[in-house]
């Protein structure tokens, strides 16, 4: 399947993956993330449940301390 990840095209071998799987494949090990799938916020407790499918638009924001 093809999706958009942080405004860039990405391809995966599977037809659908959970957000947890996506984070693992992309090696996103950061602790403090905000994730949106097709504009909708997905909270951490739903990372195993929400599935990403063909054509989805996924945004992963990485928040680091400092300000």
């Amino acid at each position: 399947m093809k999706i958009t990840l942080n405004n860039r095209p990405e391809s995966f071998d599977k037809d659908k993956i959970s957000i947890s799987e996506l984070l693992k494949i992309k090696n996103y090990t950061f602790k403090m993330l905000v994730i949106r799938v097709n504009s909708k916020l997905v909270k951490k407790d739903a990372y195993d449940i929400v599935e990403i499918k063909e054509g989805d638009d996924v945004a992963v924001l990485h928040l680091v301390s400092g300000g």
């Binding site: 942080n6 405004n7 602790k31 403090m32 993330l33 905000v34 949106r36 504009s39 916020l41 909270k43 945004a59 924001l61 990485h62 928040l63 680091v64 301390s65 400092g66 300000g67």
Partner: protein
Amino acid sequence: MTFEEIKSKLKIYTVGIAGAGGLGSNCTVALARVGIGKLIISDFDIVSESNLNRQYFFRDQIGQKKVIALKENIKRINPEVEIITNDIKLNEKNIIEIYKNCDVIVEAFDLAEMKKMLIETCLSELPEKPVIIGSGMAGWGNSNDIKFRKNENLYICGDEKSEIAVDNPPLAPRVGIVANMQANTVLEILLGTK
């Protein structure tokens, strides 16, 4: 647009700034200088000596509430700006109450978990509201790593990787770059792209 035209356009807007530390104090000062009509600032902290390496406060303000000290500094720069201060620790509930009528919200916290809390609260409760985030600005150098990107109504300023640590403190130059990038993004949203 001339500066007079810019000022008269910006006068009608309200910008909310969540936090009055390194990002918040510098961003607020930039917004006050260009003449945003109304600024709503919230912070519970007091000015301490360790803040002076990057925050827009003065030595004789140590011990004062940050929101009070910042209001005083802004009044000295541009008395025409209306300043609303909240000496409060922001949370999921009061963020909505305080910032729901703002045209733009600037996230200016120091802790990543507070940044996340504000973004998630705004996305859930104020889903259309433009929110400008600062993430990744510790240390020095690497100016070209500091960037801007947009995800619909979320605007992200910073290098998205440089986390503060004892041996990687936040310092005036990089924090100032990100704070002013946030202020610049406010203008882009309110005035449109040049």
